[in-house]
Subunit: 411 residues, 2 copies
């Protein structure tokens, strides 16, 4: 069992310890919700002020050239590429994760004519499923969504499968899919794969090209710490960029948008997956978060994420009453992303009691308490303290108050 001296030693030896200072975190909060919304990088405010005054205010419309706003989606996309195992020119910042899913699902389906099925895991993040349903609805029965339990995905891929759409990390359990193995299984059956890396990019090394992935989307506001509703990103493997087309053929994806011609002609490369005008201010804040993540050693990031998870499990099991509390995430660190989920029949009330005590995680129905373990800004001592507070809430029954049962909270 870990003791206080061990915890202090772990933090003292942490090669990522200095990154905590790159973020602005409130006092008296142990923030275990970075898998939902990351905290502000300390210089996000300065970057916003700088772009507002020195670019928008000083250059006005000439910012498109003088500050190369027009190149912003690709320039910042190239930074994200380094976090997700992609090459320069394979990633762009654009729109929301949902909108990017729509573009890439449609593009993938078009590359597999004669196949109608979008295959996904039944418990995928809901917006992924909803977007596939919306695309199917536009397609006069030519495209359909089929979902199966996560463990059955590989066996369910068949010769009607156009694209397999999977989340790299399960948002409910924190389980990590084997990206390379599932991509290979899909390719063997002639299907393409679209990975949603919203719950992995920035928290652990992602290797899209190492896994031979075809398409991917990801989120800017979780482990990239880009701000609430930050622009998202999309990845299209270079080999698909010539043939793949976006159905959201807006002017920023045009080969020559400023010719203002009447017919859409897609740009070369990743640019064809842009649609409208990039949200320059929001991308500036996102870039602050990406720059912090880029400065971290990926191996150290993964090692710390796994160590924090192992520590949390160990401390919870050592300190908390076992009745009603169960580990919902994989026990093996190699099988997890960067969150630990526990179930408890009164999980909602327990989480509200934790939040009131400064331990901010979140709850997912019916009984899942999620604890995001962002390795850039969390200390081993935070994890230890969170487990202690959870134990106190459970041991004393402190959660059993009417105020903790109010379900008005949405996140």
């Amino acid at each position: 069992m870990t003791n206080d001296a061990d915890i202090a030693a772990l933090d003292a030896a942490d090669p990522l310890a200095g990154f905590r200072d790159a973020f602005s975190l409130p006092d008296n909060v142990i923030y275990l919700c970075g898998n939902s919304l990351g905290p502000p990088p300390r210089d996000a405010g300065d970057r916003l002020a700088q772009v507002t005054a020195d670019q928008w205010g000083a250059h006005l419309v000439r910012g498109w050239t003088e500050d190369d706003w027009i190149g912003l989606p690709g320039r910042v996309g190239d930074k994200v590429a380094r976090l997700v195992g992609a090459k320069p020119g394979e990633v762009a910042i654009a729109d929301s994760t949902s909108v990017n899913l729509f573009k890439l699902l449609a593009a993938a389906c078009d590359l597999r004519p004669g196949r109608a099925t979008i295959l996904s895991q039944a418990d995928n993040f809901p917006t992924d499923l909803y977007i596939a349903q919306g695309l199917a609805g536009l397609s006069n029965g030519n495209r359909r969504l089929r979902t199966v339990p996560a463990g059955d995905i590989a066996d369910a891929i068949d010769d009607d499968t156009a694209v397999v759409m999977l989340s790299h990390v399960d948002y409910r359990t924190g389980a990590l899919f084997d990206m390379a193995a599932l991509t290979a299984a899909a390719h063997e059956k002639g299907a393409l794969v679209l990975w949603d890396v919203a719950h992995s990019a920035g928290a652990l090394p992602v290797d899209l090209n190492g896994a031979n992935a075809d398409f991917a989307v990801g989120c800017g506001y979780k482990y990239l710490n880009g701000g609430p509703g930050a622009p998202a990103f999309l990845f299209v493997a270079e080999r698909h960029q010539g043939a793949a087309r976006s159905p959201l053929s807006g002017w920023m994806g045009h080969a020559t948008p400023f010719d203002f011609g009447p017919d859409y002609k897609p740009a070369d490369g990743i640019t064809r997956f842009l649609c409208g005008t990039p949200v320059v201010l929001a991308v500036a804040a996102l870039e602050a978060g990406i720059d912090v993540a880029l400065a971290a050693d990926p191996k150290a990031l993964r090692a710390k994420s796994q160590a924090l998870g192992d520590l949390f499990i160990e401390r919870v099991e050592a300190l908390c009453p076992a009745d009603d509390l169960s580990l919902f995430s994989p026990r093996a660190a190699t099988d997890r992303g960067s969150q630990i989920c526990l179930t408890h029949p009164q999980g909602y009330a327990v989480m509200q009691a934790l939040i009131e005590r400064g331990v901010v995680g979140d709850f997912r129905a019916p009984d899942i308490m999620r604890f995001g373990l962002a390795p850039l800004y969390l200390r081993h001592a935070d994890i230890d303290e969170a487990a202690r507070i959870l134990a106190e809430v459970l041991t004393t029954g402190a959660w059993d108050q009417p105020k903790y049962h109010d379900r008005a909270a949405v996140t």
Copy 2:
């Protein structure tokens, strides 16, 4: 003819004169490009700083409830509604103009089964046409885009027309469409109408419900001064909100997104036209611009916009050599939006010479010089001075230098 004393008197009597101080404009620039990108409202920077520190930084994920980020698209949409003649609950802030066009075009087509045609003006803003082409491409031949010259629109509406997609103000000429008359003509033939008010909202009163419009989209970064790539808005008339469906069925348009259920169920009202997570920081900057516009009297706004246009035409015609220079916009103020366009065979070089002299307009191929006349921050003296500088550039042939012919500029 207007003289200097008249100009000074016009500015002295201008009821909107005080609004100029609400914006941050560089010295020595006469900014006639607000139809492309508006300048920063003076408090945009403070609002961004406040949301970053006091909301995102202080509340982290609880901002979704404590700061009602979840209600932001509708709350700021209700403010835009007051600018465009809509009711509360008919407008939402969302995505880009292009993405919103896709959603509403698809929704409109679905409301008119058996009709295949999206009808538009041949010189509509290109992204509008491109998006319609993208939607048609997804539809297995069930939807097609047909374009006709602007003057032929009313006659071209037939019983195959599902939706007529028009820009309220022509981005090339500045001509203002008769929204009520064209909407009535479409309805008479059983078609719906989608108006793009990107070049009118914020510069002149728009009356969507007065015109009985069905759908509309608009831009946040032109006359609403929301910042480069600011989020856009969409309008769906209340009578269509029950039946209309967005094909971009992301989680923020779901009836109960935080139930995380497997099947998409559209929310009631305008919320169903949301898709991904709202870009909170960018909406904060946009709201600063909208608040300035809301403080202005709409009648005064229109009167000043028309007066500035009339003045510019008068001064240009009085001062500039007539050879090669032509008025491209309608002469009658009632037929114009809030920009004046002139053609010149060397329009590109002339515009570059103007920009170097601090008169910032823009150029559209093949020969169009555009001068946006935003009534909130321009003075009559600015318009007079711009005309004088144009006259000087043309009279002296100052534009005829190699540096003014470099076409690298994109905007």
